[in-house]
Every structure is written in C-alpha cells, then in structure tokens.
Symmetry: C2
Subunit: 429 residues, 2 copies
C-alpha cells in the first residue's frame, strides 16, 4: 500500500532535473523504501522548448511558475530556481496556500528565512532546506533537531566547493589564483561568473543559516561580513605552510561573550586540524559544544546528485508530515540575540611584509603592533640581499586593531609591502 | 510562552543522571532555545538511597519502574536502564499506553526494535533512539530522514570507543592487547567486564541498527556475525603497517547482489582511508551511495555528556511532535530482504604465517589458496635463519573459502603457525 503525494517543481536545472528524473524513473524504489508515491504534477521552467538531458513529459511543463504553485494537485513545492525574485514571492504564496515547500536556495533562506519560516508556521506547513547548506551532507537536521539541546560554542564550515577546490590546487601545486580559477572554469568546478563563490557571498549565506540554527537567533545573510579568496596570493600559502598552516575559506559562527560572531574569510588552519585535510570540492562542517565536544560532518558539498538526495530526504519527511497532517520540522524557534560588530570580533592574525633588513627595523614594527594592543605570538624572518620577508602571527586580537596595525605598517618607510591580513584559527591560546 | 511536557526516567546512571541534571539545572536555556519546559516527573532507580553526583529530588525517586511508566503526568519516557529485561516490557507498556519513548539502549533496539517500532506506530507515538548508535554523533536521523531517498551501498562504522581506544594504543605504542586493556580499565575507558565491547557484541547491535535503517529491512542484532578484538596480536599490526594498513573494529553493512551483508570484525583499512585516522575513543560512520558519494560523520561515541545531548535532541523532537499531536519520526518502513549467510560474504583477506624457508614452500602454500578458489593479490616475505614470515593479501574471496584456506594451511608441515585471518577493506579491486 502506498500513499500518493503531488509534487510541483519551480526550476528544472541541474539539481531540479536530477531530482525529477529520480522521482520518475526510480519511483518503484522510493515506494519500496518509503511507501510514498511522489508524483510530479507540474514543472515550471524558463523555456519549455529547451532541450534537456532527458525528456520531461511536455504536459507537465509550463513557463508560468504560478501555475505550479496554484495547481490543486500539488501538495509540496520544490523550489530549485535560485535567487530571490521570483523565488521568494512564489515560496511565500505556496506556503500561504497551505503547501509545504522544500528548497535548495541558500540565498533565499539567508535573506528571507525568518519571514518564510514564520509564514510556514502560521499556515501549519513545513519549509525544509537541508539542501541549502553542504549539498548532500546532512547538517540542517542535525543542527536543528539532534543538537537542539546543546549550547553550541562554534560552527566552522568549509561550505563552498569552488573555493576549496581553488585553494587546494593553489597549495598543492603552487599555482596562481588566476590560473587555477581559469582551469576550474574549464572543468566546470567554477561558474563563468564566479563572483558569488570566490567573493564569499555564497559562503556568507550558508554561514547565516548555520548561525541561525546553531544559536536560535535569526541572522540575515547580508549581516555577515565576508572576504573572499579573490585577493589571495600563493606566496602567503608558501609561508603559511612553513609555520604549519593551510588556508581554507571558513564560514565561522561563534558564541562570544559579547554576542554571536559570524563571518566568512580565508583562514589559516593548523595542518593537524580536522578541517585541514578536507580537499578539493568536498565540504565539511565542524561543530563544537561543551557536551558533545567536536563533531565533524564531511561529504560532497555540491553537484546535482548529492543535492537532489538532500532534497529528496526533505521531500520524504515533508510527505510523511503531510500524511500525519501536521508540521513539526519548521518549529525552529528564533529568539533575540546580539550579533557582534565586525570590527569587535577577535581573531589571531597572520601578516606578511617585506622590510628593509637592518638593525632597529623589528623594534619599529613591533611598536606599531604595541600601539594597537595587538600582541605578537611568533615572528619568522627570512633575509635575502638587503630585504627580508617578515611573518608575524599575533595572539587573539580585535579585527579592527589588526586592520589598523596593517594600515600603519604600510606607512612605515622601512616596510615596502604588507600582504593581505590572514586570520588564523587555532585552539591554542 | 512555553509548553510543559512531563518526562519520566527509567534509570539514572551516568547518561541518565547527566540528562536529569541538565533538565533540572539548564531548564531556562532549554526553554529559551526551544520553548519547551521539560519537567522531570519521576525517576526509577535500582536503589533509591544510593549516593549520586548531585541530589535528585527524593520525591521523584522510586525503585518501581512501572510507577514511572504509569504516572499520568509522564508523557515521554526516557529509557536509560539498558539490557533487555525489564527494559523491553517497560518500553512496550509505555508505548501501548500512548507515551513516547526515547532510548539509548542499542541492545534493546537491536533485539526488539522492529516489534517496538510497530507498537509505537500502532499507538501513534514516537520511539526515538539517536543515542543508541554513535553517542553524540547524529546518525540515526540522517540515515532515516536525510538519506531516506538514497540507495545506500554501504555503511562502515567505528562504533565502539573502547575497542578503538585499545587498537589505537596497540598500533601507536606497540603494546600488547592485555596491557592496553588493563590500562583502559584503570582509566575507565573499558569496563571491569569488557566482554560486550571487546567481543564485538556492542558493535554488532549497532551494526544491526545501522543496517536496518540504511536498507529498510529489519536486521536483528543476533543475526550479525561478529568477531571481536580479543584474539588479536600486536605483531599483525606491525606487518599490516608495512603493507599500508591499520586495524579497526568495523561494523559493516553492505548491499551485495545476493542480499544485505552485515558483520563486525577487525578490519585492516588503508592508511589513507578516512576511517584510518579516527583515533582513540572517537566514533565514525562512513556512508556510501551512488548519489551522495561518501559521507563521514565523526564525533564522541560514548560518555555521559554526548549521549545525554543525543537523548535531549530526541526528547525535544518528541515533545514537539507531542504538541503537534502526531508522530512522524517512527514512520520508518521496513520491507523484506535477504540477509547474506556469513560464509558467503566476500572480503579481501590478510594471512600471516610462519613457514620453513626453503625452495618449493611458496608453491605448496599457493596451491592451498588455489584449491579454495582464493586469488592472491600480494605476497610479502621476511626471512630470518631457517624460518620466514609470510604475509599474503588476497583478492575478494568468500569468507568460507578464506577460513578453509587458513585451516588447510595450518595442516601443512612447512607451516609452523597461521595467524588470525584479518579482513582487508579497500576500495581498490
């Protein structure tokens, strides 16, 4: 005996197309495993005549997404069109008319998640988004359900496969950012316009979602300060490795005494940290808390198949809830909290500079750090001819003080170059 | 505004006591994060006068567990007494009287899970058991919900912290099994009677639960063939390392052409496999499937705090469902399937033997492998005086054929010793 549920799609690109194909061609396996017959009732696409990898039943296709949302046979809407508009209004309309929604749209959830989850709760339906962060890695459900009773201290995530691929290639092959990006674009690992990935916006959306679930306080994506990998130089990685670090673009959400600190930036992690060995397009989320200690979730962060699996899991949960005539998965509670000011967040810093190699220079440089209350943890110097490369790792410092230090250093006549300030994550003091 | 739910405890040992303490002393934080007031209404213990780490309100204590189950103020029962009897009948009674149950009892779930989940479904209440496998690692929910739509190929788990601690110490310090076990007992990492851990029974219960959820077919714990680490010799690890392997006690559940293959045994894994670097008491579960590729979940596999966190997550889910007047989490569907016969399961084997070092010996040994259709992948020999140590790694072979080969080898006059047959896991052919 199986129960039938009507599914409508908004979008049929790589991820949507993969899921539609599985619902149609693997229907028997899904029924056998879950008892659910998930019937595709409508598919909204931009161009109904566009050729796809497989034939979509033409009678299901429409270029008017509202038709899918309003179709009385559709009980669950799968939103995989991406972007904020028209995805946002369509999702809201679906929820308000009593349909459950499953989405992979991190940008939408980061921008309108609080509002949309509220609309879902008012309508008594569920809005699930496991696919929005970490692709095929189950992380939304573990954070919002399994760890609902934990006072999470921090969540660190490698949540963008494109940038992790680029950083891995740069570190392992010593190639330049530009060369690796061009290669990644040829291989399809990076989009033609890679801005959202390399600039950190994609990771910032995911950081906002992870922070919201971990700390029970809604964080909008645009509140997350982000720095991408587009300004990064391979020479820094060479030196970082000598000091025992490797670079990762981390989404960081921490419970600090002065509030919740959320940010995205290239971060040097110690080579023996579990996140250091996450290579290529793989994603990982590292959760710490006083009771659970450390949890690490690793897996494929993107791609049609893994993301479709995450959507399908949500679809099955949503269908089960539908049949039980209730919704529980959206019952996430968001309280009030304080989001820290970017300049007040603290971090260890890594500064590389080129300096004149003569007596007294280090004292003048150290004085700049002292002026800004930035305490030096270690210094490493490599001389060549009359110049030297100087690397300084600081103790935990205010972000604003680190930046002010770097700016002041650039004004010293004995310093000919100051590299990008890189942050260092380590559990050591 | 918060909703109140009455909780009853069966057991107040390390895990139960930790959770009770958190429900009492961290009640405000739980209300703030979830909106739920989880009120302890009764606690069944063996000895009401026993001193504990903190004062339990004496009016809540009883040595008659049925009182907790029958208490009309108790809506959710937390079973942390362990074992099958009286835990099984008590859980069944609680479910039948319409109470939800949250349990950490892997032995009970492996033995009676199918029956108890059926009782929960009939009564329209939930039975949750995230804490039964992997301690604080969320794995039950990901497998049964997030991956509900995946055709999982295999689940490999390091699911017993005691044995992983012992194996790690043996490998890293070259110590003997007996010495490390004694040390682990002193440190509290192994129990006074370590049989269930070192003999593989604990891992077998968890393997049964993982297999049931991954393949949607109920597997009883006693159907799982298991071999522990109690017969293991440090010398094998020394040689295994030379060939690029490290030993792990793996719970393995695989979808094979002839059925589902579930087993627990010491297994050599390649040093570059993600499970190879899981050290000490840490647990890990590695899930593979055609769409999701590989997922790895790592974290603390035991201990009062992590396990209490898993129970609390289930308690919150269960309370949310209770308030929504439904149960969905137990709606796991178990179909029919075939469990493979232990002798027919296939694996690569590692055999160490001491042989007479003279011409013609290898040919005689190779003939024994050939007779049993076991194909040799690699041979490594180290001579000393007139004896030699011979290591042979086989290609994928039937378990029964490997054991028959080892038995026959032991009967050859040129072989003076045959070590334990170790299985090798590797993704290479």
């Amino acid at each position: 005996m199986s129960m039938q549920i009507g599914i409508g799609f908004l979008g049929a690109g790589t991820v949507g197309g993969t899921l539609i194909r599985r619902l149609i061609f693997e229907s028997d396996a899904i029924v056998a495993k879950t008892g659910l017959q998930l019937v595709v009732e409508g598919i909204a696409v931009r161009d109904v005549r566009k050729a796809r990898g497989f034939d979509l039943p033409p009678e299901l296709l429409t270029d008017r997404p509202q038709r899918v949302v309003d179709n009385p046979n559709v009980q669950i809407v799968v939103e995989v069109m991406g972007g904020l508009d028209p995805a946002g209004p369509l999702v809201r309309r679906a929820l308000e008319s009593g349909k459950a929604v499953v989405t992979a749209n991190k940008e939408l959830m980061a921008a309108m998640g609080s509002e949309l989850l509220g609309a879902a709760e008012s309508a008594g339906v569920s809005l699930l988004f496991e696919a929005a962060v970490g692709g095929g890695i189950p992380i939304i459900r573990p954070l919002s359900e399994s760890l609902a009773g934990e006072r999470i201290s921090s969540v660190l995530g490698i949540v963008n496969g494109t940038t992790n691929y680029i950083l891995t290639e740069m570190v392992e092959n010593g190639a330049s950012y530009e060369d690796v990006l061009a290669e990644a674009q040829q291989l399809g690992y990076a989009e033609a316009d890679p801005t959202a990935d390399v600039g950190g916006a994609d990771a910032a959306s995911k950081a906002a979602i992870l922070a919201s679930l971990a700390f029970g306080m809604w964080v909008d994506g645009d509140q997350v300060p982000r720095e991408g990998i587009d300004g990064i130089e391979a020479v820094d990685f060479h030196y970082a490795k000598q000091l025992g670090y490797t670079p990762k673009l981390l989404a960081i959400a921490e419970d600090a005494p002065e509030g919740i600190a959320v940010r995205v930036h290239p971060t040097l992690v110690p080579l023996d940290h579990p996140l250091a060995s996450v290579r290529g397009a793989t994603n990982a989320v590292y959760v710490s808390g006083p009771s659970i200690g450390e949890l690490l979730f690793t897996g494929p962060g993107a791609g049609g198949e893994p993301t479709a699996t995450a959507l399908l899991g949500d679809l099955i949960t949503s269908a089960r809830e539908r049949l039980a005539r209730t919704q529980v998965s959206s019952r996430i509670r968001f309280g009030r909290g304080r989001l820290m000011n970017p300049a007040d967040m603290t971090t260890k810093g890594f500064l590389r500079m080129t300096v004149v190699d003569r007596p007294g220079v280090l004292a003048r440089i150290a004085a700049v750090f002292g002026k800004h209350q930035v305490s030096i943890k270690s210094v490493w110097q490599e001389g060549r001819a009359d110049e030297a490369t100087l690397l300084i790792v600081t103790h935990e410092s205010r972000e604003g003080d680190l930046q002010a230090t770097a700016a002041d250093l650039g004004r010293l006549d004995v310093v000919s170059e100051v590299g990008t300030v890189l942050r260092v994550h380590s559990d050591e003091p």
